[in-house]
Symmetry: C2
DNA sequence: GATGCCCCTACCCGGACGGATAGGGGCCCC
DNA sequence: GGGGCCCCTATCCGTCCGGGTAGGGGCATC
């Protein structure tokens, strides 16, 4: 099952970049290996779990870059990353993931990772990124990092009635109930009712919290 | 003054990456050229203004990457970038700048730039980035992109006293005066005083507006 | 037709808020 | 020493807000 060849290579050419790939997804692992070795300047070692990766590093293997799958046996998300980083030699470590969100990427980079690779990258970009990181640079796909954390489909907006949304918009503009009433051409007591109801729906206890929650959700 | 050698090279080896460097800063231009050509895989053409760069491209020169200084004669910030992008051949264009802020970088990348290079990068990173971009990838320094848009000197924060800032932070969390008082271990009337004063200073007329203004300014 | 949801209006009350005014103490700088 | 700024405390008042309760009308679904 595992393609762990070359795990005992000790001789090491100065111009060859050694990369450890730890991923339980056979296809990705093999593809990456083939592409990298096809470059001629890479030497890859592949394992399928975090524990195997850790064992190799503890045995004194040297790598220019360690690629860890964010979700593989023994990895336990960030914990594995931190453990690997704490090992002797402080290898350059990058995270590869098929599912992780942007803020996971941010956390990882913040913690000093060499990079973050979503599995949506093309093989070509993947190879470029690996080379880039092995050279000592920090990489993450820019479009991935720039995308709004918005995505959560606004579960908030969907629970509110149209009128409540209009009122909420008024709240996000710092308006008083009276102003909102005037703008919507309804009586103030009605506004107060909508305000109260939407508090319950979105979990706010006053208008400031409601406004902030709405802004955070990307509304208005 | 200009190091415009090689501007007329037409023969083009398949494995050599041609880069056009347009920057009115001689030192940077020469350094970059020396480092890149030292790599052996780069062929560089240097000019010192936007108009010269445009002339070369219009004359049919082919480049794998065009580097444009964000502030050089004729560049006119984003305008030059867009003009260059609109030219025949749609070269890969990257921006290099010593002063531009993060949101300029975001705009440029959004507009489809091959990358953004602050002049604070090391020569080594610069070369790596140029190679990376010439390979077709998009680059920007991650730490630069991840930094908070905080910097703009917060004219707001500077007008507030330390205590008022603490109170304002409470407001941005949707807290009541009483809660803020408890957290800061002062009496509620004091909180109300600070609240009232900071309203005047930042131009808010109620706590929701204050909280929103603070958030917009990037505080907290 | 009954039920449910949304929208509107209205009244109540206690508490919170916005604004003004009036102090005192500490600190620095002129 | 005086003036300025910041921080603290306090009282007063009118308004707004948050929460509750109680309706009526429209519209869809069951």
């Amino acid at each position: 099952m595992m393609a762990q060849q070359a795990a005992h290579v000790v001789t090491r050419s100065a111009n060859v970049l050694r990369v450890l790939i730890a991923d339980d997804h056979d296809l990705l692992r093999d593809t990456l290996q083939i592409f990298l070795e096809g470059e001629g300047t890479f030497e890859t070692v592949c394992v399928a779990s975090y524990s195997e990766a850790e064992a190799l590093v503890k045995a004194g293997e040297q790598f220019d870059l360690v690629l860890l799958d964010y979700s593989m046996p023994g990895m336990n998300a960030l914990e594995g990353f931190n453990k690997m980083r704490a090992l002797e030699g402080s290898h350059r470590v990058a995270i590869i993931s098929g599912t992780a969100s942007r803020d996971v990427a941010e956390q990882v980079l913040e913690a000093g990772a060499a990079g973050f690779l979503p599995k949506t990258l093309s093989a070509k970009s993947l190879v470029n990124a690996v080379r880039f990181m092995a050279m000592g640079e920090q990489y993450a796909p820019l479009d991935f990092m720039r995308q709004e954390e918005a995505a959560p489909s606004h579960p908030m907006a969907e629970r509110l009635s149209p009128r409540e949304l209009e009122v909420l918009e008024g709240l996000t503009q710092g308006k008083s109930n009276k102003e909102i009433a005037r703008d919507l051409d309804i009586r103030e007591p009605t506004v107060k009712l909508h305000v109260k109801t939407l508090y319950r729906k979105i979990g706010a206890s006053n208008r400031t919290q409601a406004a902030l929650l709405a802004k955070e959700a990307g509304l208005f």
